[in-house]
């Protein structure tokens, strides 16, 4: 089977580094070893970020289990929680492997991920030098891991503070000969503040989002939160399809408030997700949870789908797409008040479940009437405000839509 992993449409320049396609393996379990990254490159991935390196002397010991997941309906792993720490393999091992990967895959991009404590200038600079000397094409500073590492003054505590974010960026930039990406946490009131701080520190790019702090659930028999490590648990980081809307907002905000290039992360599993991230401002995209679910092989459908989409829409390059949808985000105040929509139910498709009526009756404006004999809903256009709830609850695809209407709204509230 031939696929589009090397399609020229997908070639992209990110901070002066050439990628054959915009798909990067995020710093995570899929990049646990150099051997794994080389297999991913064999399969067609454009780049990979190694699992985060910490200063020598930091002891990294992981727990079991370190994952919990939330299935939703038939969707397994709609949200994945992890409490895995940074790499538990030594710095020297990794430096050797970075060289091996580059020798075998000179056209693929290897990005060194590094992490140190907020005030540890020496550590940041030493890791930067060693990783770039080993042959990494770029460096990503992990300021976003929300579990475990913050207890040591590392990870998300760094990018929860604008000053620290800026200082770390400066320190790293001072010694870096390769482009520097700052990876931010979403677990903050306003990500624009830390994004601007990274920019002020001289960051070439920002990657967002790191995982969302969370707690997957509680075992109701043992009363232990998940994941249960011999009867105790801790907060973790969430990823997967469920965090995508949080990530999209973060990417769009960073795009609109800084000049940094963006590597989008958060729930990307299909080419459609990737296209959305690019249209909202990402130049490259990072994938983790979907690979944990399906394996490296999804790179083929990611590339096939994205290149087909680009051809259909006549985009000549990824750069042509970046941020096109972000322009259409405005203030709520600027949205039209004259645009009048009402619900329209397709009688032929309606199965008579009554969910639209219940939703409108109990959570909207009582604008959908119900004929119990015929089991038929009908829209009172004078009462319908066009909120759209009915179209979201309807179990039949395409049965309820919103249409423009000239019928004036008669308030009966």
């Amino acid at each position: 089977m031939t696929t589009a992993v090397e399609h020229t449409l997908l070639n992209v320049d990110f901070c002066g580094v050439k990628f054959i396609n915009p798909f990067i393996l995020a710093s995570a379990p899929p990049t646990t070893t150099g051997e794994m990254i080389m297999r991913a490159f064999d399969e067609g991935w454009g780049g990979a970020i190694i699992k985060t390196l910490v200063p020598e002397g930091e002891v990294v010991r992981n727990v079991a289990p370190r994952l919990a997941s939330l299935p939703y309906g038939k969707q397994r792993m709609a949200v994945l929680e992890n409490v895995e720490l940074t790499t538990d393999r030594g710095v020297k091992v990794w430096l050797k492997e970075i060289g091996q990967i580059k020798r075998r895959h000179p056209r693929r991009v290897v990005i060194g991920s590094i992490m140190a404590a907020g005030p540890a200038k020496k550590d940041w600079q030493e890791l930067t030098r060693r990783v770039q000397d080993a042959g990494a094409d770029m460096i990503e500073c992990n300021l976003g891991c929300p579990h475990g590492m913050p207890e040591r003054g590392m990870g998300s505590v760094c990018s929860q503070d604008a000053e620290i974010t800026k200082h770390i960026t400066q320190w790293v930039k001072d010694v870096a000969r390769v482009p520097v990406i700052i990876k931010l946490t979403p677990n903050i009131t306003d990500i624009k503040v830390t994004a601007r701080a990274a920019q002020a520190g001289g960051a070439d790019a920002i990657s967002a989002i790191n995982t969302v702090a969370g707690l997957a659930g509680v075992d109701l028999d043992t009363l232990v939160p998940l994941p249960s490590v011999k009867g105790l648990s801790t907060y973790g980081g969430l990823s997967g399809p469920g965090v995508k809307p949080i990530a999209l907002r973060a990417v769009c905000e960073i795009f609109k408030s800084t000049n940094c290039l963006i590597s989008g992360i958060g729930g990307i599993g299909t080419w459609r997700d990737a296209a959305e991230f690019i249209l909202l401002g990402s130049t490259t995209v990072q994938v983790c949870t979907a690979v944990m679910h399906w394996g490296y092989r999804i790179i083929h459908d990611l590339c096939d789908g994205l290149s087909n989409y680009m051809e259909e829409h006549s985009f000549a390059s990824i750069a042509d797409m970046v941020g096109l949808a972000a322009r259409k985000i405005t203030m709520h105040e600027s949205l039209s008040r004259e645009y009048r929509l009402v619900s329209a139910i397709d009688r032929d498709l309606c199965i008579g479940c009554g969910l639209c009526h219940v939703a409108c009756r109990d959570s909207a404006y009582q604008a959908i009437e119900w004929d119990p004999k015929r089991r038929e809903p009908s829209v009172d256009e004078e009462a319908c405000v066009g909120c759209g709830l009915c179209s979201h609850v309807c179990p039949v695809d395409g049965c309820v839509a919103l249409k423009e209407s000239k019928v004036p709204l008669k308030k009966k509230r």
Binding site: M1, T270, W271, R272, D301, G305, N308, V396, D397
Partner: protein, 445 residues
Amino acid sequence: MSGLTHSIERPVNERIRDWKEIRTAVPHNLASREAERCNFCLEAPCSKGCPSGVDVSAFIRRIRTGDLKSAIRIIKESNPFAGVCGRICPADQFCIGECRNRFATAPVDVASLQRYVADVELLKGYRPPRIERRKGAKKVACVGGGPAGLACAVFLARRGHNVTVFEERERPGGMLTYGIPSYRLSQEIVDAEIDQIRQLGVRVVTGRRITDLRKLKAQGFAAVFVGVGAWNSKWQNIEGTTLRGVWDAMDFLTAAKFGPKRPRVGETVAVVGAGNTAMDCAGAAQRLGAGRVIIIYRRGRAEMPAWESEVALTFKEGTEFMLLTAPKRILGKDRVEAVECVKMRLGPKDESGRPRPIPVPGSEFVLKVDTVIQALGQETDRELLAGLGLKTDRGGLVRVRKNGATGIPGVFAGGDVTNGGATAVEAIAAGKAAAEAIDQYLRRK
């Protein structure tokens, strides 16, 4: 019948009044829900189960991610008859039979998903990717325009060869066109997929019977693929077979589909035999307005050669099955009026490995019928094959190696002519394997 087919099957009373397909188009929501059920298994057993090697889990993943353009490309890469096989392939024996979900819930309905992709993309105006003709391309002839010959032509054309398909009948498609009724496979789909093959640069010449391979060689064809099928009906020579109203199954199906006049079957139709063609004849007879259609078969239920799914379909449409029964003679003056039958019992296994049917003395009875259709199976045209210089075995099948090589340099064969009559997808697979072998042969030359 698995999965989706149940949801899209038209009600019997409606469908036996017309010749439109039994199943309606697969709706988008059902297709995407079914695609969600695919586990994207390691080393996709479904793909290994497909004779033509379609990468099943890859195309289903493309449905799942909303990229039908890639889905059709993936299917067509291995099988030029995506829409055809999505309809008529006994997928329970192949991909669906291998689906690992069968151990959990129910297998994924791969056939319906393939049909969905092919239909949607056909409506959108699918065009096969252009191919470059190789410099110094050799001329190759495919004799017989059925699925084997056409598939062979496709895979040769993709390797840059200059291919001509010779079909003796008026239309290409072989059994797809002449042997399968339109309610199982719409002719529009067959024609559309053959058009796509033409768009690849394959020449399809119809109305031309090839009887001498040396002449082809003289015309500059460097290699030949023989896929002439098995079209001769086995005929039971009992008294009365010359009466009007006695049909050969193939002639009957062709007349039912293309006329010039559709057969007038009268009130009661007896179909002799219980293979897939017999089931097709019964379905066609139902649609021609017969009041009563009876399958007459000398062995029992377990021995019927038709696929389970076809038997179920035929039964559902109201055809009666008279098992352990054999016709003895056909009665009538000028037209068929009745058939005299005898009951059978099953004895020990015969050389075919099935229990031998033995007549029960004194059990004769007369059945009033207006039409008798003999559907006892097909065999190859030995005379034609001998003329072509091909060696056949005792059963009349052309002997070939796995890659279709006949032993005569540059001459390959595959499909029904080598296997005696199997599925379209196996004919396609044979054509594909032969194309590879022919390509290698031509490169060595």
